[in-house]
Amino acid sequence: MLENEKQHIREAQKGNEESFGLIYRHYVPQIYRFTLFKVSGRQTAEDLTHEIFLSAWQNIKKYKQREFPISSWLYQIARNKIIDHYRTAKKNISIDTEDFNEEDIGFYEQKNLDITLNVEKIKSLIKLLKPEYQDVVIMRYIEDMNHKEISDALNKSEGAVRLIQHRAINNLKELYEKHRGNN
């Protein structure tokens, strides 16, 4: 959660660009990652992330503060935008690992990071999961959100989130083993 987040939200609601800028810079990486794992390609993820934050800026006056960070609200916008994206484009979710090629990885400023082959495999396998499994895996393991935050973002109970997480990880392990067996 961003430091003094509530104060920044109140200021952003009054139209303070600097406060919204702080919120944007704090949350854009995780929303971008979430989007990237749900759509095909870096360019689409960037466009959607831009739309998500544009919508957040335009509608922040309607946002009602609760005990959770604003990221829950941003994830809800993201999910709606992604649904709209697929509805409009009528695209099938590609499971092609070519969506995450070396060129893209370089663009994500990971040049100095040790991107292993395992990571690439997992990244492509996450896209094979059911959409709600993807959401929970990304939020829980990549964004370190707690179950309460995830349940708020996905409009599900905490128990349901735990169950989805359990199933998703098992599913992912099966896919990983299967993928290794094929290779």
């Binding site: 992330t49 544009l54 006056k61 990885i105 990571v119 990880i169």
Partner: protein
Amino acid sequence: MKNIEEIIKQLKKIGPSEGYKAESLRLILSAPQNPESRLSLNVFELFKFAAALGLTGMLIMISTTDMFPGLNARLLSPVLLSNLDEQKIQNEANQVDIKITVAEAKYYNDSVRKVAVALDETAKNGPGHLNSSILEKELQGLDFNSQNSEDINELLNKLTM
């Protein structure tokens, strides 16, 4: 296999470029914000209040008038509102009155007989003999139409006058 959760965590290192972030934020902030939609909320609240008020008024009209003969007060609340029927109340009052009169007459009739027996016994045996069960038994054996009874009654009347 390396712990799959640990592998997933490495994906956290992915992020958008600084150039993208700066350009995107600049474009976002150049867009106007939507006004807070208090109006729609107020209109909805107002509608709810008006609907509640209207329904309450309609219920009162139905309950207190003959606008809808098939759906009047008796049908809506036959138990509670029956007390508001003036004619029925009058009838009930009359009936209650009659019942009281009859009950009183019966009481006086019975009590006169009991008093007569009690006085008779008292005259003969003293006031100690006033057991109600014995009096009842003796009451059954008395003949009120005999000449003696008439005499006693007359005597008692003189005493009490």
